[in-house]
Subunit: 400 residues, 2 copies
């Protein structure tokens, strides 16, 4: 990349983690630098739920994600463009990444009909009919004006047959080329998306095909959609070694704290997930030992912060006893303080991971983190995810 390019990625350090190579780097964007690995909070509707831009800066979020599908439907990308773009609209002058709407079209929209040209679907808000094509999505993402934008892809659900997964992957490749051709804004970096479901041969093919095209970065999509963690890890181990070393790799929609550690170990640089803010609103606070259920009577009157060594606004000022009271009383402040802490937990964890890569101690960090952090019971997590997918029409018989 030349110095004139507003987007670049500099690899600063790598560590052999056995299962893959962990990396530390810096992404340069027109709205500032992003140190990697990075966790990106999700601002679906141009707001990270319950948080202001000030809260996000205070929680040290360097970049956020916004959802193209949601913003296209409401308030509309034309309107956001007229108001000066997404950064100005939501008063966030740091980097933003927009997804392409692919995942939402396949998971949230109704009556979707897919063909090689694009997808026709009905809005989940008002039932109105819309059509996304690669060219159309590029236009929408240019209107939104994020620093990093994603190609329009077809995200196969889990489980998918080999045949369907292959067709979806090939369509994704074809759409990636069309996105590359129709994208015009030089101040935006367009990332491709590797697909291939849980089939190693497809993942390898997808990484190979997309690597041959000149994208400045790569998303890895279609994972963490219901498959066992072991399958996700295996797919990453197949994929990341085939991607150009000097380009960032973004694992879409992942993940939990333990996912950060395990997927950085497998060569991932960027993450996004609604998990920290969603579970916050349900009363689960992230700590080094796992999730803390703030609603539990055991926290009534407890005069210590969530984590004594946490520097977030919630931990600096409030006790577990007060947070317990707010949550029990269904006060709006509860959702915000819980979210602030969880976002800071994620940014702090990823900063520690990065530091351990830079000083070469990542394998020990990973071991210690996983020994201490107690993940949510796998069966509960899988069940919750299945319920969510079911509720959103994603699940049924394997996609054909």
């Amino acid at each position: 990349m030349t110095s004139k390019n507003p987007f670049s990625f500099t690899l600063q350090a790598t560590v052999d983690a056995g299962v893959g190579t962990a990396r530390a780097g810096v992404i340069q964007t027109p709205h500032g630098d992003v140190e990697t690995p990075v966790f990106m909070p999700v601002g679906t509707q141009a707001t990270v739920k319950s948080l202001s831009p000030h809260d996000l800066l205070d929680a040290q979020a360097p970049i956020i994600l916004a959802n193209t599908y949601h913003l296209y439907l409401r308030p509309g990308s034309d309107l956001i463009e007229r108001m000066g773009g997404l950064h100005r609209f939501m008063a966030w002058d740091r980097p933003i990444l927009t997804d392409s709407g692919g995942f939402q079209v396949f998971s949230l929209a109704h009556n979707r009909k897919i063909d090689d040209e694009g997808v026709t679907f009905k809005s989940h808000i008002d039932g109105s009919t819309h059509r996304f094509t690669p060219e159309m999505v590029m236009r929408v993402e240019e209107q939104l004006g994020a620093d990093i934008i994603m190609v329009f892809d077809e995200c196969a659900p889990y489980p998918a047959t080999l045949d369907y997964a292959e067709r979806a992957m090939k369509r994704t490749h074809s759409w990636a080329e069309r996105c590359l051709q129709s994208h015009t804004r030089s101040d935006q970096a367009l990332f491709a998306i590797v697909q291939g479901s849980t089939y190693a041969e497809l993942r390898r093919e997808s990484a190979h095909v997309l690597s041959s095209l000149d994208f400045p970065g790569y998303g890895i999509g279609g994972l963490s959609v219901g498959e066992p963690k072991e399958e996700m890890h295996a797919m990453l181990e197949e994929t990341t070694p085939l991607l150009a070393e000097h380009k960032p790799r973004y694992l879409m929609g992942v993940g939990s704290p333990e996912d950060l550690v395990e997927c950085v170990a497998r060569g991932i640089d960027m993450f996004d997930c609604v998990l920290p803010t969603r579970v916050a609103r349900n009363g689960a606070l992230l700590t080094r030992d796992g999730r803390l259920p703030i609603k539990s009577a055991r926290y009534a009157g407890v005069d210590t912060p969530i984590e004594p060594d946490c520097d977030c606004y919630a931990c600096r000022h409030f006790t577990l006893g007060y947070l317990h009271h707010l949550f029990r009383a269904e006060e709006l402040l509860a959702y915000r303080l819980n979210s602030i802490h969880n976002i800071r937990f994620m940014t702090r964890t990823i900063a520690e991971i990065r530091a351990s890569i830079l000083d070469g101690t990542f394998p020990a960090y990973r071991q210690e983190f996983l020994a201490r952090y107690r993940p949510t019971d796998r069966e509960i997590a899988v069940k919750q995810r299945q319920q969510w997918l079911q509720a959103h029409g994603r699940l049924g018989k394997p996609a054909q």
Copy 2:
């Protein structure tokens, strides 16, 4: 008052407003000074709904109110005392006023049974049975530890018969004496509460009787409970001239922006009301011209702040178009930004009122404010209040 007393009130200026005497002063409390007239945001459950202490400081709230009834029931005043009192519990180190729970016992609690000793009632949360006496309420308010606390009173609903209003008033006087005798904390100022419903002779008697007792300040209760504004104004005109000039006067549960102007004109120094935060959550933004309904389609894409000259966080950073989007999308940030603006509108308005008293221009300020500010249609407001009172079991036949 001696200089050793942590509480004092200094009258700084008065202005003849025709209908009464407007006053500017300063209340000194153990947690800092409060310039009057003052508007106090309401933090019912130890949080002003949707706002953090930082938000309140930024909106220049000098003192907040918390509700004794709610906090006694949940999380419990014993627990708050153990956690160091209300200031520490909610991380607010500025002045706090607690009401006595009188109003809530009569408006929210179920199955209340009143006798001369106190009131037995069932919790609106879980139906558990409790009893408030003046002595008990003093104990609870001492546990909470606010800077200004209120006597336990019987708040007659509107309309009330003369006979009932008189009995409630006399009970309030008797209870006020008992509160005075049982209150022990010298770092709290205990205010009496004038009652008497909408009967001028009762209001005069109540002011007279309570003035003969040594309270450092006076609440005026039982107004803004459904009566026409003219009646409320008439009652203030009967009451405030009889109260000691060198003690602050607090009109409880009032009010709207126009109420601030009209009641300062009638000698009131202190106000509290849920109105700015409640209407904020319903999408009504306070402006110099009246309430702005942010949900209205006319604000989509509007690229200006709520009020160009407002210095609140919402107006400094966000447009009407963005606030409209947040509210339509039911995002939690909408409730917070709307509340921040409305609180700042109230603190800014009362600061302007104060400045106009200090420089003698209050009558002109009042005239200009009322000429420009368009109150919510009276009939709508009355209907909303009646519905609220009905929903909370306050309304029915006149109290006997």
